[in-house]
């Protein structure tokens, strides 16, 4: 079995105060490993996005421990978490979240520039990454001139350009038709998944389940069970 990439123990997280308070994560013990593409599935509102935010360090926890590549995010200061994110995590969002006033190369170069790399160097790497995702001809288009599938491919390029060890995707295919969804997942499998990397995908989309190495089911703020190839719950074709 591969090395553990992400581990949470007894993580609790709630929102609101007093009467209005809701506990969203209830003692979550979650685990993702190096080299795998792990899917996190479950009914709407069960806390998938919240768990993803906690793992990414964009949301603090109330209780429990979050370890990513042996760094304890729950114990780090805000600043250190931000730095950790910049160096180690790539993001793919449902709404792509590309910056509309920047062209594709500039958008893709953002993570490198955040790390302080020179614009020329960053743009060069970004251009190469756009080639990899098949958008070599769209370098200087603005996002609004691209289709949804193409925009998501730009977002994938952006998530990978700084070679992070953890890729976090929240419903990456939800806004796409099945053909484009398939393309995006093929790309994630082909380019993102590597032995030294961990990809976590939150999804509702059963058309893409087949791309998972393991599938963790969430139910009402808890991890219910995990399907693996070993227990044959996952069917591959």
């Amino acid at each position: 079995m591969n090395e553990i990439a992400v581990q949470t123990s007894s993580v609790c997280k709630g929102f609101g105060e007093g009467e209005a308070r809701t506990e969203v994560l209830k003692e979550v013990n979650f685990e993702a490993r190096m080299g795998e593409l792990l899917m996190l599935v479950g009914p709407s509102g069960c806390g998938k996005t919240t768990l993803l935010s906690v793992i990414a360090g964009t949301l603090g926890v109330d209780r429990g421990e979050v370890d990513v590549f042996n760094s304890s995010l729950h114990a780090l200061g805000k600043r250190a978490v931000t730095q950790f994110r910049a160096a180690n995590i790539g993001f793919i969002f449902q709404q792509y979240n590309l910056i509309p006033t920047l062209d594709c190369v500039e958008n893709v170069s953002v993570p490198l520039r955040i790390q302080g790399q020179k614009a020329a160097v960053a743009d060069k790497k970004a251009a190469a990454m756009l080639e990899t995702v098949g958008l070599g001809k769209r370098m200087h288009h603005r996002p609004n001139m691209l289709s949804g599938g193409q925009q998501q491919r730009v977002a994938i390029a952006r998530a990978l350009v700084h070679d992070p060890r953890l890729i976090i995707c929240d419903e990456p295919t939800a806004a796409l038709d099945s053909e484009n969804g398939t393309k995006v997942m093929e790309l994630l499998r082909g380019v993102a998944a590597r032995p030294d990397r961990c990809v976590i995908v939150v999804t509702h989309d059963n058309r893409i389940f087949k791309y998972a190495d393991r599938m963790t089911h969430m139910e009402d703020g808890r991890i219910d069970h995990t399907d693996t190839k070993e227990n044959n719950a996952l069917e591959h074709n």
């Binding site: 996005t49 950790f84 006033t101 920047l102 955040i114 603005r142 929240d170």
Partner: protein, 379 residues
Amino acid sequence: MLNLALKMLLGDKAKYIMLISGLTFAALLMTEQAAIFCGIMQWCGSTLDNVGAPIWVVDPMVEQVNDTEAMRDTDVGRVRSVEGVAWAAPLYQGNLRTHMRDGSFKFVQLIGIDATTFAGAPRDIIQGRLDDLRLPNTVILDEYGSKKLSHDPAKPIGLGETFEINDREARVVGICKTRMSFSGNPYLFTTYDQAVQYAPSTRKMLSCVLAGAAPGQDPAQVARRINQATGLKAYTKNEFFWLSIWWYIKNTGIPVAFGATVVLGFVVGLAISSQTFYSFVLENLRNLGALKAMGASDGILARMIMLQTFTVGLIGYGCGVGLATVFGLIVLKKGMPPFFLPWQLPLITLAAILFICWLAASLGIRKIRNLEPAIVFRG
């Protein structure tokens, strides 16, 4: 990151132009209103500029330049004898009515200057000669008056034309440029002796004594010495100017009314530009949130916002002050409304704009600091 910040700003042309125009308008409003205010204030002391003299000696009770109390003719000699005084000359000033040949009449501000020294003579004579003022019954009219006294403004009064002041003939031998007076009456220059003839006769006719300090002497100190030696009140031109301005501020509603529009200009400018900036930041919040999620620190984001606001601020400031200057050049050609742009004014506007930028930027930065980067996961 910083050049991306500029690209993010310039990327949306429509929004960018709106931001710039908001700030341009604010800067224009502040500068132009304040310049008109300064112009009006300058009108209050126009006589001090039109009648050039370093030291003005008046009756101790006098509060401002446009309202002087008559003194004795002998006061000229008393001032002249004070140590450090190089020269002293009499001056008459009063508002008199002119009667034109066609029966119309207008008020003028009559200035009577010393015929031997011509101290206080108009500096910028555009037609005729100053020396002709030594001929009997002659006057030099200002350019504004040459139009105002004429029944047809297209045909201004020229050299050789005559009119009457208190049944005495006045012949125009020169046209000069002056700064407009607060009362709006044109300036009419003649000699002191001639002015005394035109004016309705009273026991004392001397309005004030003009004086100059000897070379190497400080006019302010010479003025103090005149005060002590004569019991009259001597001011340097600058002191008399500010005394007059303050008199107008304290005694008339005009500066206060205009001051209020200046303040209004600032408040409106402040409101418009902070509002436009803030909505710019709000609209950008999702993008900035994505950057924050991807690991951009608050410090970087703050610098990006600062760069964006100050870029827009400085460009808007430049356009605004530029437009105000163009407005001023046009207005100065026409002479109305008053307009005076002292060098301090653009600096004050700059400070105000920078303050606005700083305010908008810090509001935005606070917003970013409290922003949960997790919002970008939500639809």
